[in-house]
Symmetry: C2
């Protein structure tokens, strides 16, 4: 994770960054010299149809708090990322099932509140771009970043540019995979996500478990059902990853999100299974994400810095 | 198909274009005013390790023949596209299993023979870009062009740019799909290609058949096995297409190659089956390719014209 002493490089000014999630909003300041200050979290407000407005009110307050904590910094731009379907070009949150907005003009409304130019984008795309620019994907041109947690989503970087498709790209979790029972198809998220691993273990074994981490611990202790569920998750993930490689000629697959904290227990069998599925295709590196849970926030800061650089002629 | 009277628009000069296939080499001239002249074919020479050199000798002769036929035209650049793995940026044919070359410097060698600047690329990418620029994909930003013939390959256009990944992208035919027997996985090409449709029909029915066209005719005449094989091909194609849509947020899927000549017999059930596989994803248009078998050649001409425009400051 990037922290103090691990700077992002220089920019023409200080920036703020905000990452709106389903549970909390994270905010930080990044200095012109590239220091990422402490990350502050506040709960994400829920206010029905007014949720987007309430979120921006909270972002505004958080911005004032961040500025108050660091009186030496003066943000000249901000980055804001949100979940759901996002039209980054138009500055609009098209749809969020979880947070309940439809076609909300985040960029304009946030610029008005903060009095700053705002770079607006999608949380997962932002995390993917951050991993590409500064994390495990650095140095490659064609990268797939796949974030595996409760759900599964990701970012395709093709020829050095993120594929956004008006906000519709990257829904890896909804790719079809063969059902582990061999009787049809399922979506990847229902087999390969951290949530699915726990749910499927409990369904098959009848035992409650503390998340995918608990399933992993049981597998390591010799639990056969845990081993089966874990292997089926890897099988499903390798199916979708190999499909991406085949179509996109991917050089590096960066695996992030909660499940990636399993490290080699995930990556070693995943590399093997992807390798088994490929024939003449490119053999990509399969790497653990490096920026941790703040990747989306770091991406938002990068976008704000790009805005600043472009606007001030330092691009 | 673009022909005389259906011009490509103006360019700073006349260009030559060549499309090297496994069976023949096609060549044509395109005038500065955008007229595509007659397409001339010569057999692709096979000369073991010297095949790439022999191909370029034939391209050189073909160029002279084209110039002789149209003394009013004076090509100022050429476009050359070849199959296999192609590094367009480096100007190198990395590998062709069929034509037997490895790391052959096509661009430099062709420029030397023709005495012209040469735009070098991959045949399927070139066809995809042509369909995107001038054919069924025109007007969209995020397009998948899938060419279904003996094999299956294609081009992803993301945000208006082709995804090449150093020549490794677009191998749709090698994507995994559920095996029609429900017992495992197979590659798309083994179920959904024109060649596979004929082969599988013969294997299951014991009857010889005249290609996928013959299977279609039998299906229309009420042959149950033909109907089953055709439906399984569409099922497999819809699986890979829906995976692309999910990850890439595709707006339009353009279907070309020999199998696309089946028209609505292919497209209507394919649209329905893709629709059944999608939930909240973008619903792309699924369209028949418009440029026919000369799409790759047209793409080569477009690339040559771009070179000319860039070089002469008319870009």
């Amino acid at each position: 994770m990037l922290t103090r002493g691990n700077p992002l490089g220089h920019a023409p000014g200080d920036v703020m960054a905000f990452d709106v999630g389903g549970t909390d909003i994270k905010g930080t300041l990044v200095s012109a010299s590239g220091d990422l200050l402490d990350v502050v979290r506040v709960p994400t407000p829920r206010d029905g149809a007014r949720t987007a407005e309430a979120v921006l009110d909270r972002v505004h307050e958080l911005g004032k708090e961040l500025s108050g904590r660091s009186p030496g910094l003066q943000a000249k731009a901000a980055g804001l990322v949100v979940p759901g379907i996002v039209d980054a070009r138009a500055g609009v949150g098209v749809f969020s099932a979880n947070l309940g907005w439809t076609n909300f003009p985040f960029r304009a409304a946030c610029e008005e509140r903060l009095g700053l130019p705002v770079a607006f984008g999608h949380d997962v795309t932002s995390a993917g771009v951050a991993e590409f620019e500064l994390g495990a994907g650095r140095g490659f041109d064609d990268v797939v970043v796949i974030i595996i947690g409760t759900g599964i989503a990701g970012t395709v970087i093709a020829g050095g540019l993120p594929v956004t498709a008006g906000g519709y790209a990257g829904e890896f979790g909804h790719s079809l995979v063969p059902d582990p029972s061999g009787t049809g198809t399922d979506i990847l998220e229902s087999v390969g996500s951290a949530a699915a691993i726990a749910r499927r273990y409990t369904r098959i074994s009848g035992n409650a478990v503390d998340g995918a981490k608990g399933v992993l611990a049981r597998m390591q202790a010799g639990d056969i059902v845990a081993g089966q569920v874990w292997a089926e998750a890897i099988d499903a993930l390798s199916f979708t990853i190999s499909a991406c490689i085949t179509v996109l000629g991917t050089e590096a697959v960066v695996v992030g999100g909660g499940l990636s904290e399993a490290g080699d227990e995930l990556l070693v069998p995943l590399r093997r299974r992807v390798g088994e599925r490929l024939t003449f295709q490119r053999r990509p590196q399969i790497l653990q994400a490096r920026l941790g849970q703040d990747a989306g926030l770091i991406g938002a800061a990068l976008a704000a810095r790009s805005l600043l650089a472009a606007g001030s002629g330092h691009a």
